[in-house]
Each structure stands twice: as C-alpha cells, then as structure tokens.
Symmetry: C2
Subunit: 362 residues, 2 copies
C-alpha cells in the first residue's frame, strides 16, 4: 500500500475521527482507527462504542491494503508535517508517513481484531443538514449531562409527518427547549444521547443528512461522513403538558440588552439560591433585581408590554435565563402565565424556537 | 464620597488588581481592595502578601473618603456595566455603583482592619521598562514552579555596574536561561520569585521602571502602578561554571524550521524518557530522531556548520529545546562542546539571550 494525499484533506478527516476515538481505553484497539484503502482514496473509521464514524479522504493509492494505526498520534503527526503532499506506505508492520524532510514509522495494529464497523447504504429519509444542526444546537443546552434519568441526557427528535415538520426537544426537568424546523418524509421519533448530538452537530455542514433507521440505532450519512449513533431507550416526558397556554402578561425587548442586564445583576446573585434573579414587570419597564451576601443589584429596561395583567413579579435562575436567550437574536418575547407557573421565552416573530422555564418560588 | 470615573480606566485598574488579589483567602479582608479617594482620583491597592500592588485611576471626586470592597465582585460589576461613565457613591456601609439603568449596592469592609500598604516615593535606580520586561519574559521559562530549592523558583537580577548592563538569569538545575540588557546606575543583585515576575512583566509597558531597594523587598514604580515585591533569600547557583567555553561544533539554521521539526518528531518521543530527541550533525545536515512505543520519527534539516569537529551526536529533552528556542527569532546558533557536556542555544548575531542545556545520556 502506497498512497499520496494532501495534508489538508487528510488532516481534516483525522480531525473529525480524533473527536470520537478515545485517547485512552481499556481496549487499546479502540484508540486506533481503521484505514481502508481503495484505488480512489482512504476511508478512515473509528468508534467509541456510542458513535461509529467514517470519513472518506480522496488519495492516489497503489496496491490498496487496509491497516489500523493509533488515531491520535497519526493525526498529530500529519498536522505537524511541513509541505502539502503526504506519502503513506505500509512497510512490514509499520506505516511510513513522509513529507518534506520528515520520515515517520508508525506501528500498525491488528486489522483482524479491530471491531467490524458497518454503515448502511440505503436511506429512509433526508433532512437539510444545516437546519438539523441549527435546531439541535439551539436546544442542546437544556439536556442534562448528569441527570439520573437517561432520557434527560438525550435530545428527542420528533417527526410531525402530517405538518411536514420535525421538532427537537431537550429537558433537564426544570426547563424545556424546543425547536421546530421543516422536514418532509416519513420519520420516526427517537432519542439521541446529547453527547452524540455534539459530535453530530460538528459533522453536519451544508447539503443533506440522510437518515437510516436501525435496531436501537440511527445512521446519518452526509457527503463527507457516515455515522452510526446508538439511541437512548425510554419514554421522553410529556413536555407539552408544561407549556403554558394561558398567557397573562407579555413583554418584548432586545435579546442582547436583556442578556447583558441579566449577566450584570447575576454577579451579585446568590450561587447557593439558584442564582436567583427577580423579574418585575410594570408600566412598560422590566426591573431585574438580585441579592447575595455581598450586596444588591438592580437593572431597569424599557419593554413593550401586553396582556391582561398590568404587572407581575417572578423569579428565575439567571443561568437558565441566559441559556434560554442564547439562540434568540433580535427581539425576545417573554410570555408569563403567572408568578408560580412556567414562562416562555422565544424570538419575537417566530422562528420555531421556544424555551419553557419553571419560576423559582417567590 | 461620590466619584465619576470612566468605565474603561476603572476597568483597566481593577483588571490589574484582580490578578494579584486572591479570590479566596483564610483572611477575607485580603480578597478586598482598598480605595483611597482624593480630589483628583482613586488609588486602588491590594496585596497577596507576596506582592503589593497599587494603581491610580483619574476621577472626579467629591467629599473624598477611603473604603474597602470585595475586589473580584467590584471588578466584575464594573466590567459588565453598560454606558461609559460610572458613578460611585458611599451610602452608609454600602458602595453604590451606577451606570445606565444599573444600580448596584456593594457591602464595604473595615478600612481600619485592612493591612497597611506603603509604597516608597524615592527611587534608587531607573531601568527601561520595555527592556526589563523583555529580558524577564525571555528567561522566565527556565525557572521552576515546584523545585524544592527556593532559588530555582526565582529569577536572579544582576547589575554589572562596571559594564553598564544588567542580566537576568533563571535555572531549574537542568538548564540556564540568561539575558543581558543595557542598564545604568548602581544596582544590587537580588532574586525575585518567578510568580511575582509574571505579574511584574504584566504591568511593565513602556516608560521607566524605577527601583527602590528595601529590607528583603524591591519596589517598582511605573507611570501607572506601584508594586512591592518580596524577594527570595539564598544563594543563586554559580551558573557561569556550566556555560561551556570550548565550542567544538557549531550550526546555524532558521529557528522556526528547527522548532517545527522538533515539534514534529517529539510526537513519537518517549514521555517517560525525558521526551528524548537525538541531534545528529554531519555534512551540513542536522538530523533529528525520536523513538517511542508507537514508532520512530526522523527529520532532516540543512544547516551551516562550523567548528573543529566534523560530526557530533547528542540528545536533548524536546520540551527543553522548544523552551530554549522560544525567545529566538530569525537564525538560531547551536554551540556544542561535546556529546556529554552542556550546549548553548542563542540567536545568531547576539541580542543578549542565551540558553544553556544539559544533554541527555547517549
């Protein structure tokens, strides 16, 4: 096996694999990646047993032969090479990596012992990769990294086939983040682990994301990569139930101004009391207030106010407010149903994103 | 006390203090800073008991009165404020911080109980601040952060009054970094803790650094700040002894090319064997080689070679080589006195910087 490949495309491919392949493992083979050589290029594959990832790198290849190499060392070596063209050659049990004045000999692993990774060639459904990535990115924050209940560590993907749309939902039990986006086809509902979603977002660029449904598994194929994602079992909580329907007061203001003001007053909020920040709405003003061991903070913002109630006082976790505002650009719309019932934060004028948050006790 | 001050200058001053004042301490007063108000401005002072730092901030002040506030909270609040002008007002036991729609009330501390900080007004010596900062920054890497012997955790400053120059020296016992720079006046030799040097470098910009010698202490005054640095006791090792005088082989090559090549081969160097990289010089070539559990690396660079010996083979810690090359721009000159005796790395054509390194056993 002898291959010539540009440093840039090989580095990019290895960069994607490096994020999935663990750098340490009780099974050392898992820290390696498998390279399948064909006449037209190299297919790099790796797995962390939650995600299988495969990526094709165009190359000029002579005498194709598969091999297994330590993923992170190989990636580091290629990244540091001088020159634009890299030569790879299998010499006995070693892979030679050459460029400019550099000559590396890297030990290869046992190809037979490497776990077999297979990726489907058919597709059940096709989504716009950019839309999907944006939707997943908007709700990711609301999934928990530690929650005891596994479903709170996942993101639910729902297909509303009748309305031609899809929805992603994440929740940690205290808040729900939702984003709808257009999608056609006959999709299934499923829950993807949030950590796998992070990697999925990273590989989704433009073009299409083709879905293939498997047993407890979703395969996603794009122009550049193929990915198998292990799914989470279990029932996602009935989040529709907590979305308030009866909005009593509503304010509109620039999202950036609100983010900055919450950031400011949160400095003095009590870390041991959920970073509590009070929201007081009345007479076209939103007053934010926080209090802690070292003093008190107050900030006043002008808002456009609507609804049947003339004034309301609520309290939120400042961190949750900032998270909820994250995906909102331009004007933010805050919909309040009462001091002790959940509130909705969304972009004024729609866009499909909505955050639902519990209030802290007054 | 009521003061008006621009957010920018107040933020900058607090930013300097924030680095010195600890965010946690068994003595909570140490996490505060003292503000001395005068008609023309505010003097902010803080200490971590190793370094006292003071910084003047121009402001319009009415009814001057001193106060003590939590340093990090105050800095964070000011940094997050909207608007360019900040109003400070002492209201009872609280400091009001106001700007735009924001109104903060910060608890103040006991001014009487705050440790008295005094800075000298006379100066014994004056150095160019930029030269001093560059010199200290060039040798800082060679000081140890953990060495058992305190002097290895310091940087020695020598005044060679007869030649009108000064020298900074750092060593961890395996390597020595030296930089000479022009200095006039009648200075003393002293050892500054490396961690204090980090802060000193940060406050030294252009202009003059005025030195005042005290009992176990050095005071440095610039246009912006005043600083007291506690000095290290003890005898700095006789580093002159390890500088090789009898150079047998000498190579010159671009510093960047050498850094890149060492970085490359170091990927495969054995972490448990001092990141060992071999240097083999012969026939106008420098060959670098490294070997570890996963393979072997080799890189060849063209060099200009001189000296009485036609070839030499040595080994270094790759990390130390990269550190030593750090301050060298343009061409690097490597001076070898033998396979088992120390080597010198310096910038070709002088500049006052020199790194001396032990070789690893062949």
């Amino acid at each position: 096996m002898k291959a010539h490949v540009t440093k840039k495309v090989l580095s990019e491919g290895l960069g994607l694999l490096e994020r999935v392949v663990p750098s340490r493992s009780s099974n050392p083979l898992l820290t390696s990646l498998k390279v399948e050589a064909s006449e037209t290029g190299l297919t790099l594959s790796g797995t962390n047993l939650e995600i299988d990832l495969s990526c094709f790198v165009p190359a000029e290849v002579q005498e194709p032969k598969d091999f297994v190499v330590p993923a992170h060392l190989f990636a580091q070596i290629v990244r540091n090479l001088g020159g634009e063209l890299v030569e790879l050659e299998l010499v006995g049990q070693e892979l030679a990596v050459r460029a400019g004045g550099s000559d590396f000999k890297l030990q290869t692993g046992d190809t037979e012992a490497y776990p077999p990774l297979s990726f489907p060639s058919n597709a059940d459904l096709s989504l716009n990769a950019e839309e999907l990535a944006r939707a997943l990115g908007s709700v990711r924050y609301a999934a928990s990294n530690e929650a005891f209940q596994a479903v709170f560590r996942g993101i639910k993907l729902e297909h509303h086939n009748e309305t031609g749309s899809a929805r992603v939902v994440a929740s940690d039990g205290y808040r729900v983040a939702i984003r709808d986006f257009p999608a056609s086809g006959d999709g299934r509902n499923l829950i993807i682990p949030a950590r796998s979603v992070d990697e999925l977002i990273r590989v989704l660029k433009d073009g299409e994301a083709r879905f293939t449904y498997g047993e407890g598994m979703l395969s996603v194929t794009t122009d550049r990569v193929r990915m198998n994602l292990k799914l989470l079992d279990g029932d996602f909580p009935d989040y529709e139930r907590v979305i308030p329907k009866d909005i009593k007061l509503q304010v509109t203001l620039p999202a950036t101004a609100l983010k900055e003001a919450v950031n400011r007053v949160a400095v003095l909020a009590d870390k041991n009391a959920n970073n509590r920040v009070e929201f007081l709405v009345s007479e076209g003003q939103l007053r934010l207030a926080a209090e802690g061991d070292y003093g008190r903070a107050q900030d006043t913002l002008a808002v456009t106010q609507g609804g049947v109630e003339p004034a309301m006082s609520l309290a939120f976790n400042a961190r949750h407010v900032l998270d909820a505002l994250g995906p909102i650009e331009g004007e933010a719309e805050l919909l309040f149903s009462g001091s002790t019932s959940p509130a909705i934060f969304r972009a004024s004028g729609g866009g499909g994103y909505m955050a639902v948050m519990v209030t802290l006790r007054v």
